[in-house]
């Protein structure tokens, strides 16, 4: 039995001070026309205990929406959203449910940014990394320094951010819908040398609802979840190189070997929390060399990526899946592709864990 994405809806990634996690979830759910009457709800959220003081967030969301449907919450750090789609697909393929709604939701603006930064850093190992002063930008900086030593230019990373911002101008739900230039990097705030604020994702609140069904024929459009896989990598401090994203590289290579996936020919959303990571990944996969030319990768992060669409941590994967679904089935806001295949890549931390989904348009 197959699992098919048949529709979805997203809330603009932003600082929604007027909405709590329940409001955001309800907004996404209520504007998703095909999300009615699921057999199961899978909620993806990474930080509700820390940011909203709420345990069992899935139950409280479902109760708030007036439903009595079974719910489970999936937490897998930054990759929670894609993990939830994996769980939903499994529920359908096993026959346990015919229709499942994945609901990615995250509130990150309940406290000042420095507290959100502290909470976000907990995607790393608290006892072995966080207590020692290691945070996600530290690894991004160490990774960028390795790539600079390899011969990549600073402009390579800046250009990624510029491209993501440009892509995001066409995405209605993107957080940063404005263009930036490479020149701006000279004066921007440094997070961890040489990584700047513009090399980092945009942190925002968000919610995304996606409906999956075992019976796509009754829906206007459908995209099959053809394949999903995940891999745990070594801790960054145990690798020869921080920029060695072995788990992500392995998974994306497998898509090429098993399904003939060429990232130049498919819609692809790569996890770009910090600019060195997509560059390192595309390099290790052989798509770019140190000249960093992204020519031919026309459908790469059309959403603007985590960099500019924004990164509502545990909900981000559900945004990525929604965006690829939309781009395979007509597009949005005048943005469309002629590809029938899409790839979603998500990871938590610097490749501590990586997930990929292969999606194929069914109708």
């Amino acid at each position: 039995m197959g699992a098919y994405i048949v529709g979805g809806s997203v809330v603009k990634v932003d600082r929604h001070f007027e909405y709590g996690y329940r409001d955001l979830a309800y907004k996404a759910l209520s504007s998703c026309e095909v999300c009615e009457n699921p057999d199961y709800v899978v909620v993806a959220s990474a930080l509700p205990e820390l940011m909203a003081h709420q345990v069992d967030v899935g139950v409280h969301i479902v109760q708030w929406t007036g439903r009595r449907v079974p719910v489970v919450r999936v937490e897998s750090g930054e990759s929670s959203g894609v993990a939830a789609v994996e769980v939903a697909s499994s529920l359908i393929r096993s026959g346990a449910a015919r229709k499942v709604v994945v609901l990615g939701v995250e509130k990150v603006t309940e406290y000042p940014t420095y507290i959100a930064n502290r909470m976000y850093s907990l995607i790393l190992d608290y006892e072995f990394e966080v207590l020692r002063g290691v945070s996600p930008p530290v690894y991004a900086a160490l990774a960028m320094k390795e790539l600079l030593r390899d011969g990549f230019s600073r402009e390579c990373f800046s250009s990624w951010a510029v491209r993501m911002h440009e892509n995001a101008t066409r995405i209605p739900h993107a957080m940063l819908r404005f263009k930036i230039s490479v020149e701006l990097f000279k004066d921007v705030q440094v997070l961890a040398e040489p990584v700047t604020l513009y090399d980092s994702f945009a942190l925002g609140d968000g919610a995304s609802a996606i409906a999956l069904s075992s019976e796509p024929s009754g829906y206007e459009v459908a995209v099959e979840v053809k394949y999903s896989s995940s891999e745990v990598g070594l801790p960054a401090y145990s690798r020869d190189r921080v920029s060695e994203l072995a788990a992500s590289t392995k998974l994306l290579k497998q898509l090429g070997e098993r399904f003939g996936v060429d990232l130049r020919k498919v819609v692809v959303e790569l996890h770009d929390s910090y600019t060195p990571y997509p560059i390192a990944l595309l390099h290790s996969l052989g798509y770019i060399d140190i000249r960093c030319e992204l020519d031919g990768l026309d459908y790469l992060n059309l959403s603007g990526g985590l960099k500019a669409r924004g990164h509502p941590i545990g909900a981000t994967g559900a945004y990525q899946v929604y965006e690829v679904f939309k781009l395979l089935t007509g597009g949005f806001n005048g943005l469309s592709t002629n590809s029938e295949v899409g790839v979603v890549h998500s990871m938590s931390g610097p490749d501590n864990l990586s997930r990929v989904l292969l999606l194929r348009r069914w109708k």
Binding site: P112, Y114, R118, L131, R132, G133, S135, V138, L142, A192
Partner: protein, 137 residues
């Protein structure tokens, strides 16, 4: 964020010492006291304490704010390759931030991590300081 005293106490061997885990199966050495090898998963491991001396392989000056105070910023976090051949990441202190360099020889020292202000517990752990100023390898 208040720290947990039992949690700190429990992991004291990783916070106060640099314990290495040697795998008897694959032969690789990893940092911290572990019951299994992170490379091959084998439980056949032995532990030994590092001398705590190594060389800075790479480092970054960090301005990422995680505290209401910016007093400690920037701080330097480095990848240190220990003499035993194992890498560990940690903060570098006892030297001006613009004087840290790759190749600098450093040693692990016990320093303050945090405290439950104003009258609470003070938490200590390992950081790195130059073994001898301007001593590079």
């Amino acid at each position: 964020m208040r720290l947990s005293v039992p949690q700190f106490w429990r992991v004291k061997e990783s916070l106060y010492k640099l314990i290495l885990t040697k795998c008897l199966n694959c032969g690789k050495v990893s940092v911290f006291k572990r019951s299994t090898c992170p490379y091959c998963g084998s439980p056949k491991v032995v532990h030994e304490e590092s001398q705590g001396i190594g060389v800075i392989e790479s480092f970054t000056r960090v301005y990422y704010k995680q505290d209401s105070s910016e007093d400690r910023l920037p701080e330097v976090v480095a990848v240190v390759k220990l003499n035993e051949g194992v890498r560990v990441v940690g903060e570098v202190v006892g030297v001006k931030v613009d004087e840290v360099s790759e190749g600098m020889v450093v040693e692990a020292v016990l320093r303050r991590y945090a405290s439950d202000d104003p009258y609470g517990v003070i938490y200590y752990g390992l950081k790195f300081k130059p073994l001898k100023q301007n001593n590079t390898r």
